[in-house]
């Protein structure tokens, strides 16, 4: 399978909703995934991301709306006819079957000749670097190995779409990072369309071509990782993707290219480029990432240092600003030596973005 | 006194002795089948060789043996109109209650020899029933426990200081069938002719005296002798057949015939039976002296037809409870009493069972 490129399928969701009783789990969702694309649904638990995945896989039926796989409506098609690979949160390896038995399972269902099954299983094991472990039972494998078996099983029948439901969530940090890289390489090799569901922004940003940020059953923003990071569509995305200081402000003055805001309950005024202003209201949130807060020797705002946290290469400082606090992060060698309990900072205009209040 | 008791008791059964039996019985030849119960085990074996096989040979009527069951199941079968057997063997006087409730057919005594009918003793046939075996509920004990001579009377059984050790009795919830109430009264000094009607209060007062020494109220006839052989108890009420059998086999057990209760089982033809005539023929056949002797040679149940003793060896007869010497020591149970209705519509067995449940849970 590694050699024969199954080009990925396209997926599109049109007006898909899901309602459980009185609870609207998914609000109308529009989503198009291109052929061979690696897309990630990012959100905290309860955001509806898993429900969308389950609807694509066919385990849940949408309340309304349509789902197309390669422009073919698949709502109503039972999961076993969808030909979609799924890797489950806790792998869902069949405990009574050996590793080889697990991987052969989808091939047997497709009535593949016995010899060919053996060959395909071997290839799949090789693909996920598990040669020679075919006779083991899943319970005899480590977590990372189990994850690879689950992946091999989901890929062995060459699905044109692969769904990953928090596939790395049960692994420790180091292994997770290693597998993230492997998965990404694998995606390049096989070209299958992948939809990854995760609550881990780092995972989503580092692996996916595009990321859909979800909250409360809605897609807040969809875009390339850099777009999400640099141009969040709203305060939620700004906060969820990377860290952001969200400071309540009052708009003092709007002009064609500038918006002047006052930090709430202070007389300090900050300028924001009009192109970075995403709100028309008088009361808003000023977003600035901790790395973008500029530390200055003179002038700027003198703020009291509340807490210092050493992170290795960087150091974070928590500063008191009015009633709230802001986080500033800078290379340790730059601010590590700063003494005293006052830090002077500026909010560069290029780093400020104005959002509606949450 | 014992003889007098016996006669009185026999009289108390209220048995008419005039049956429409001709001097020369009608031929038993026939066809078809008769469905019967055989009690299984050694009893069934004895029935087969002494009754079933010769009956089939003589009459051409086939004997079908249906498996054993309890009176409750038999009663239910008659009530549904599909009796399990043509002939059932009743113990504990249940034939009387079946007859009372209209669940039995009359036996046609014209198939009986006059001589056989007249020889029934101590239990007599009635319109609806005919005794088939007689046995004795007696006292069995472990002789090794009493080197100076074992207990003889029920009063001895109650005398725990003189005859120490555990006791076992039958369950009073069976009414008269396990003899417990009669035994308790006899132990308390009631004379055999004063037994009926049972004075339940006195019986329970008597039982109270020995309750602490009673290890167990047994639940099956085989259990009493087993408890003695296993030395779980020193004295038990038990049926003679099993005690003799165990003794013959070398089991350490002895028995006393004094004040033993003579009980009997009766044939009865179930209402709605498909082969009523064949059933009467079978009962007549099984009432013949020679056949009953054959039967008693196979198993230690006594023949109700006293003429059967003519065909039994002295040695064999000496082991059977109705041989005159032993008969004189014993008391015939009034089985009809236990089936008799009380004022509240319950029979004495039902009444005793309720009292018994109250007593043992007290």
């Amino acid at each position: 399978m590694a050699t024969s490129l199954a080009n990925g399928a396209s997926v599109s969701l049109k007006g898909v909703t899901k309602r459980y009783g009185n609870f609207q789990a998914v609000h109308p969702v529009e989503l198009t995934v291109n052929e061979g694309e690696f897309i990630s649904l990012l959100g905290s638990s309860g955001s509806g991301k898993s429900t969308i995945l389950m609807m694509i896989a066919g385990f849940e039926a949408p309340t309304t709306g349509s789902i197309y796989l390669d422009n073919q409506e698949i709502v109503g098609l039972p999961p076993y006819r969808r030909n979609i690979g799924v890797v489950f949160q806790r792998y869902a390896l069949f405990p009574h079957l050996s590793v080889a038995g697990n991987i052969a399972y989808p091939l047997r269902r497709r009535s593949m000749p016995w010899r060919q099954v053996e060959m395909e299983v071997e290839r799949a094991l090789r693909l996920v670097n598990l040669e020679g472990l075919g006779d083991r039972l899943p319970s005899q494998l480590s977590g990372g190995q189990q994850q690879r078996v689950a992946l091999a099983r989901a890929l062995v029948f060459r699905p044109r779409l692969l769904l990953l439901d928090e596939p790395l969530g049960a692994l420790d940090r180091k292994l997770r990072q290693q597998l993230q890289i492997e998965l990404k390489i694998l995606h390049k090799e096989i070209g299958t369309t992948i939809i990854l569901v995760t609550h881990d922004q780092e995972e989503a940003l580092s692996m996916a071509d595009r990321v859909a940020v979800m909250s409360k059953g809605q897609i807040e923003q969809i875009g390339k990782p850099s777009e999400l990071f640099n141009a969040p569509a709203n305060a939620f995305v700004a906060d969820f993707v990377g860290e952001t200081n969200l400071i309540p402000v009052d708009v003092v003055e709007r002009s064609d290219d500038l918006v002047k805001v006052a930090l709430e309950k202070t007389d300090k005024v900050v300028l924001v480029a009009a192109s970075q202003c995403l709100t028309s209201r008088g009361s808003a949130l000023l977003g600035i990432r901790p790395e973008h807060v500029k530390i200055v020797a003179n002038e700027g705002m003198p703020l009291k240092i509340v807490e210092r946290v050493f992170n290795g290469l960087t150091t974070s400082l928590l500063l008191a600003l009015g009633n709230s606090k802001i986080l500033v992060r800078a290379p340790t060698d730059m601010i590590g030596g700063i003494g005293g309990d006052i830090l002077r900072v500026e909010f560069p205009i290029s780093a400020c973005r104005l959002y509606d209040k949450l | 006194m014992h003889r007098r008791t016996l006669l009185k008791a026999a009289g108390a059964l209220g048995v008419a002795s005039i049956f429409p039996a001709p001097l020369i019985a009608k031929s038993l030849k026939g066809s078809g089948e008769v469905v019967i119960y055989d009690g299984a085990g050694a009893w069934g074996e004895a029935m087969r060789s002494a009754y079933f096989e010769p009956f089939e040979a003589e009459t051409g009527i086939k004997v079908i043996v249906e498996p054993t069951t309890d009176t409750g199941a038999v009663r239910a079968s008659v009530m549904t109109g599909a009796p399990r057997y043509d002939i059932y063997i009743f113990s504990g006087g249940y034939a009387n209650s079946f007859a009372r409730d209209g669940l039995l057919e009359k036996i046609d005594f014209s198939f009986f020899e006059r001589s056989d009918l007249d020889a029934f003793r101590p239990a007599k046939p009635t319109d609806y029933s005919c005794p088939t075996i007689i046995y004795s509920l007696l006292m069995a004990y472990n002789p090794a426990a009493f080197p100076n001579g074992g207990p003889q009377t029920w009063a001895d059984m109650w005398d725990v200081s003189k005859f120490p050790g555990g006791r076992a009795l039958g369950p009073g919830s069976w009414g008269g069938e396990a003899g417990t109430f009669e035994i308790a009264l006899l132990a308390d000094g009631v004379t055999p002719d004063g037994l009926y009607p049972i004075d339940f209060d006195r019986a329970f007062r008597s039982l109270d005296k020995i309750k602490a020494s009673i290890v167990k109220f047994w639940e099956s006839g085989a259990e009493g002798p087993q408890l003695v052989v296993d030395k779980q108890v020193a004295i038990a009420a038990a049926w003679n057949g099993r005690v003799s059998a165990v003794k013959d086999q070398g089991g350490e057990i002895a028995m006393s015939w004094h004040q033993a209760l003579l009980q009997y089982d009766e044939f009865g033809i179930l209402k709605g039976a498909s082969n009523v005539e064949n059933a009467s023929k079978f009962i007549a056949f099984a009432s013949r002296a020679k056949n009953q002797a054959d039967f008693s040679n196979k198993i230690l149940y006594a023949p109700p037809n006293s003429n059967a003793y003519q065909y039994l060896s002295k040695e064999r007869a000496g082991m059977l409870p109705t041989v005159p010497d032993l008969l004189a020591l014993q008391i015939v149970q009034n089985q009809a009493y236990w089936a008799a209705l009380r004022d509240d519509g319950k029979d004495n067995t039902q009444y005793a069972a309720e009292l018994w449940e109250n007593w043992i849970t007290r």
Partner: protein, 582 residues
């Protein structure tokens, strides 16, 4: 299946419940309700007299309380002894587990009569236990160990232990051991990991096992009657007396109705527990994730890791000690379970014509008489055949219902569950006579079919209780995974669900089989010249005379099981080597 659209699920639920409900309606509800109606009637029409009589009878109330007490007591003891044994079995390899489970089911092979006799021998004044107590000087003269409560509990706990061990074991096999490891790595002590992580996950098994033991005890009176003393009289014994001897059907029906009402009321009062155990998806705790919660705090994580290493080492030591204790308890319980065979097998070779232990001499006479008697052989074959068929049929109608009960949401779920288990509560004699009154007019008595139906009634409650317990904590994502891999629902069922449910299915089958194979009560009513089950033959035999014959039957069954086990093992090994050799 979980991936079908919601609407069609309801049709499916009805379809899954229908076989069991129709079967129960025909062979249980219609007959028993008919009989119960009689308990409200007298010559003048409707009356509550029968109920007033019973409810004001001190004997009845006392029996009721004592019966419930004994049932609760036996259930608790079975849990105390059974839980560690199930735990041990769940930790050994599959082969040893199979052997241990087999040993546990051995007591069932002996008819209740010979088994209780063995206990009388063992516990009697000259028995092994008393000899031991006297030889170590704990007592100078024999202690009364039988024909009292000690005897009753000894016999009752022994026969009911398997009913507890199997469901608990089945629940334990489904627990991911990494969970406890995870809990330990997160800083809980092994003991606390056990109590807070492991034990709660075995809850469905405990509920299932306790339900079976408790219900079975309610109607079990032969063992208390034989091993108990003068005061050990059970409610079911009184009810049986009323049906079989006193011809008091109304009284029996009344007592049975009151017992059923009380037991069902207890279940309804505890319905939250049962509802929880019936509704797995809602109540299943979120799976523990290793490393979760630790990764966000590097400092704490490091500390925790260092601490947890120490804690874990300590835990390993503790669990080693506990292992010895565990093994000791397991060995003791196993010995307790098989001890009657140490009496039964020698007894079968006795030369005596009556039961006596030790036998005065040895011979094969009872084996000869068994094999030369076609009655015994026919009855054995009949019982084996019909019991196996009934157990399979019970699984066939019981399993779909268990699936519906454990996985579907539908109205009247708890009532349906209670209805299905209620045949275990109503004393069997009452069901038997009720069924008899219905089938007898149709000339069905004495047929194999009627036994098959009646035995199904015995098997279905076991199947449903065990299978519902087995379906708890069943990881449904495995079924979803199989579906996503291209398996249609039927294929998922046969390749994933049923194989994983096998420990529960096997124990359900075993219980259903044993319930049928051991049955005397239905035999009393339903047997006919061509349909006589083995227990009926034994019962006929022991009515008048107890001889070593019945110990032969038990010994032969034991022998067959051992041969079957060895054959299976050898075949299994052959297959194993073939697979590995290819």
């Amino acid at each position: 299946m979980p991936f079908l659209p919601r609407r069609s699920r309801h049709v499916g639920t009805a379809g899954m419940m229908a076989p069991v409900l129709v079967t129960l309606a025909l062979i249980y509800m219609i007959p028993v309700v008919g009989l119960f109606i009689k308990s409200f009637q007298d010559r003048n029409g409707f009356t509550l007299d029968s109920y007033l009589n019973q409810l004001t009878s001190p004997a009845f109330l006392k029996l009721l309380v004592e019966t419930l007490e004994l049932s609760v007591g036996v259930t608790i003891l079975c849990l105390l002894f059974g839980y560690p044994v199930a735990y041990t079995i769940s930790r050994v390899n599959k082969r040893s587990a199979a052997l241990l489970l087999l040993l546990i089911s051995l007591p069932y092979l002996t008819s209740v009569l010979i088994r209780t006799y063995a206990w009388i021998v063992v516990l009697g004044p000259n028995g092994v236990v008393n000899q031991f107590l006297m030889s170590v000087g704990l007592t100078s003269k024999p202690v009364q160990l039988v024909f009292n409560q000690i005897g009753v509990y000894t016999g009752m706990v022994q026969i009911h232990l398997p009913l507890m061990i199997f469901p608990v074991y089945a629940a334990m096999t489904k627990i991911d051991r990494s969970l406890t490891a995870a809990a330990v790595s997160l800083g809980s002590s092994p003991a606390s990991a056990f109590w807070h992580v492991f034990a709660p996950l075995t809850y469905p098994g405990i509920v299932g096992g306790s339900t079976l033991v408790f219900l079975s005890c309610l109607g079990f009176y032969t063992t208390p009657a034989l091993l108990g003393g003068t005061a050990d009289y059970m409610l079911a014994q009184g009810i049986t007396l009323r049906v079989l001897r006193l011809a008091d059907l109304a009284g029996a029906a009344t007592q049975a109705t009151i017992l059923l009402t009380i037991v069902l009321a207890v279940f309804v009062l505890l319905r939250k527990r049962f509802a929880a155990s019936l509704d797995d998806e809602a109540s299943a705790p979120a799976p523990l994730k290793r490393g979760d919660g630790a990764s966000s705090e590097p400092l704490l994580y490091g500390l925790q890791r260092r601490f947890s290493t120490i804690l874990y080492r300590f835990g390993v030591i503790v669990s080693q000690v506990r292992n010895y204790v565990l093994w000791a308890v397991t060995a003791a319980v196993m010995f307790y379970l098989i001890v009657p065979f140490l009496v039964v097998v020698p007894l079968s070779f006795s030369s005596a014509a009556y039961l006596t232990f030790p036998p005065p001499g040895y011979s094969l006479r009872w084996y000869e008489s068994f094999f030369s008697n076609t009655k015994w052989l026919e009855a054995t074959w009949f019982s084996l055949r019909v019991s196996v068929m009934a157990a399979i049929a019970s699984l066939a109608v019981g399993l779909p219902a268990a699936f519906a009960l454990a996985r579907r949401q539908f109205a009247l779920k708890l009532p349906a569950y209670l209805l299905i288990i209620s045949p275990m509560v109503v004393p069997q004699i009452v069901i038997a006579i009720a069924l008899y009154l219905i089938v007898a007019p149709h000339r069905m008595v004495g047929t194999e079919h009627v036994f098959l139906l009646a035995y199904m009634l015995l098997g279905i409650p076991y199947v449903v209780v065990v299978a519902v317990a087995g379906l708890q904590r069943f990881d449904t994502s495995l079924e979803s995974a199989a579906a996503s891999l291209g398996a249609r629902p039927a294929v998922v069922l046969f390749t994933i669900t049923l194989p994983l449910l096998m420990p529960s299915i096997v124990s359900a089958f075993l219980f259903a089989f044993i319930a049928a194979f051991d049955d005397v009560v239905f035999g009393l009513f339903l047997s006919g010249r061509d349909a006589i089950p083995l227990p009926m033959r034994m019962w006929e035999n022991i009515r008048q005379e107890i001889d070593p014959q019945i110990s032969v039957v038990a010994s032969i069954l034991l022998f067959l099981v051992i041969v079957g086990y060895l054959a299976h093992n050898t075949l299994g090994r052959l297959r194993w080597s073939r697979v590995n050799g290819r």
